[in-house]
């Protein structure tokens, strides 16, 4: 299955997000080897150069590291992985508040609604 990508945002960014997501959700564990550029390109149905760019960017952020001959691996730096998780979480929260604001809720009202929802779930 080709990866589900948006039409209006740069593809390499979405590939980065997708790989980050796969790390967070446990598809890849710390220290795991990533598939080759070509395999990822075929799986995602995207241009290999775009995958290359996404991986280079992930390397620059430190999330992924390259070993000269054996390929690319996920970092084993737990601290960094936790921070990435937190970053993703704050992005989701930010998006959510934006949506709630556009529905006309003030932030305090949104908070109250969340508390209510949490109680119901429990």
């Amino acid at each position: 299955m080709p990866w589900d990508l948006d039409n209006d945002r740069p593809i390499y960014l979405q590939l980065m997000e997708r790989i980050q997501q796969d790390i967070i959700s446990g598809v890849y564990s710390p220290g795991d080897k990533l598939p080759s550029v070509r395999d990822l390109a075929v799986e995602a149905a995207v241009n290999p150069n775009t995958i290359q760019k996404a991986l280079s960017e992930l390397e620059r952020s430190g999330l992924v590291y390259a070993q000269r001959t054996s390929g690319r691996f996920i970092t084993e730096d737990e601290q960094m992985l936790r921070e990435m998780k937190k970053e993703q979480a704050s992005r989701h929260i930010h998006d959510f508040f934006e949506k709630m604001r556009s529905l006309g809720f003030r932030d305090e009202e949104t908070l109250a609604l969340i508390e209510e929802a949490v109680k119901e779930e429990q």
């Binding site: 039409n7 740069p10 593809i11 075929v42 149905a45 995207v46 241009n47 150069n49 775009t50």
Partner: protein, 233 residues
């Protein structure tokens, strides 16, 4: 890096008043998949035919790996024309051996495997095939060469969506990192994600030459959406 394709002041006039290409300038680095996009009559096929030595420029020149189109360039260019040129009486297996004789860089094994994947019986004659199957055969042949430049004129126009996915996958798996693919199509959404770069052609000139992610970053929209805007009727 030396460009694999260069057009300098390239013009093609079919009659006194009409320029199909008008002073087109273009230089493509190797190692990219490039989409050649433009409305009907914008000059896509004319450009492709000039690269393949099927037309002679009125002015200017085309260079493939630094050479004028001819025997030497045909050895390194694998070309899928708009329409088939294969003998309808031939069996697919014979076409495969015909290609083996013709091109040093052709892999009969690869072609055979692709026919199998596409569930095409190589004992069938060309004339017995549906339009879509014929297109698949032709594309499989063209992609079974180990060329430096692939030129595909509307490769996915006539085939069903499942075969389209297979073809795009074939392009991705078979393509060597230093090879270049130039493909024309109207089905932009289907191929947008596999392209490095797009060229918009309008009235015989390149009006846009940018990478897909540049377009998305700068304009915040897909190539397909940009095309619809630029070429709005």
């Amino acid at each position: 890096m030396k460009p694999i394709l260069e057009c300098k002041g390239l013009s093609k006039k079919y009659n006194a008043a009409y320029y199909a290409l008008a002073n087109l300038n273009l230089s493509l680095e190797p190692g990219q998949i490039v989409g050649l996009l433009g409305p009907n009559g914008s000059g896509k096929t004319t450009l492709i035919k000039l690269i393949n030595d099927l037309l002679i420029p009125t002015e200017g020149e085309v260079l493939v790996d630094g050479m004028r189109p001819g025997v030497e360039t045909k050895k390194i260019v694998s070309y899928l024309p708009e329409r088939t040129y294969l003998d309808p009486a031939m069996k697919i297996r014979d076409v495969i051996s015909y290609f083996s004789d013709f091109y040093d860089d052709f892999s009969a094994d690869k072609a055979g495997r692709m026919m199998q994947d596409l569930e095409i019986n190589v004992n069938e004659r060309m004339r017995a095939l549906s339009k879509g199957t014929k297109e698949k055969v032709q594309l499989a042949l063209v992609m079974s060469r180990d060329a430096r430049l692939y030129i595909l004129d509307e490769p996915i126009g006539g085939v069903d969506p499942a075969a389209r996915d297979y073809i795009l996958r074939t392009i991705l798996t078979n393509y060597r990192e230093d090879a270049t693919i130039l493909l024309s199509t109207h089905l932009i959404t289907d191929i947008e994600n596999i392209l490095d770069r797009v060229l918009f052609l309008r009235q015989g000139q390149v009006v846009l030459n940018a990478t897909v992610d540049e377009i998305r970053t700068d304009k915040g929209k897909s190539v397909d959406a940009l095309f619809r805007e630029v070429f709005r009727c």
